[in-house]
């Protein structure tokens, strides 16, 4: 039954800062989803938020080539997706202008779509930056 997986041990992985890492990132996530029997809705949501934040770090945090650390945790009533990127400049997701969802086609501009959707899909998103380490945590309830 989806969503009834037991609260488990946090799992962590490190991935080279490259778009080509996405296959490995998705495989890492798939093991977690299967272990906790999270169901297709949560699976889709977790894929989306994880990819978007990961690719944002790849594209924008170019000052460091250190691996991106990903942690997944089943907290009982919700799932945590945590990404940590070390030795990077700050970037606060809340500093991004809201997406104009009512804008007509000709006024649509690249950028902001992924973050808008992450915020829409997630229950909570927190951002921490300390000693040049960026941590983004996304929480999504288990239905």
């Amino acid at each position: 039954v989806p969503g009834t997986g037991q609260r488990g041990i946090r799992i962590e992985g490190s991935f080279p800062k490259a778009i080509s890492s996405l296959d490995r990132v998705f495989t890492f996530l798939a093991g977690f989803v299967e272990e906790h029997r999270l169901g297709p809705d949560l699976d889709f949501c977790l894929k989306f938020v994880l990819e978007e934040i990961f690719t944002n770090m790849v594209k924008h945090n170019t000052g460091s080539s250190r691996e991106i650390r990903v942690a997944l945790d089943h907290l009982g009533h919700e799932v945590l997706v945590e990404l940590v990127d070390d030795d990077v400049d700050p970037f606060d997701p809340d500093s991004v202008a809201p997406l104009a969802v009512d804008a007509p086609l000709e006024e649509r501009r690249p950028g902001g779509l992924g973050l808008h959707l992450v915020k829409s899909l997630a229950d909570r998103l927190t951002y921490e930056y300390r000693d040049r380490e960026m941590k983004v945590s996304i929480y999504k309830g288990v239905a």
Binding site: I19, S20, F26, V101, L105, R108, P110
Partner: protein, 94 residues
């Protein structure tokens, strides 16, 4: 796995997981589309904002010539992304 196939001049079929790593492959196919077309998403299980951005760019280019994109067989998860981003008002969704 991701596949993109121009099944006809006006019909493209997308399958699998359309993540950011697939941008170049998809763009190559989209760049060859010159008139109104249908994108069949029946077997597309996932799309990222990178994929959605390519769809928007295609729609924008075609619309300048009075043409457009129709999305068919959109699964509920992708339909929700379209709704949350307002892109369900940008594309014809059949």
């Amino acid at each position: 796995m991701f596949e993109i196939e121009a099944a006809a001049a006006d019909r493209v079929v997308l399958r699998g997981r359309f993540d950011a790593a697939q941008e170049a492959r998809a763009k190559e196919v989209f760049d060859r589309i010159s008139g109104s077309c249908t994108l069949d998403l029946e077997e597309l299980s996932y799309i990222s904002s990178a994929g959605l951005g390519l769809l928007v760019a295609l729609q924008l280019r075609l619309s300048r010539d009075g043409e457009g994109v129709t999305l068919t067989n959109v699964n509920p998860h992708i339909r929700e992304l379209l709704r949350l981003s307002g892109l369900d008002q940008v594309f014809a969704v059949a």
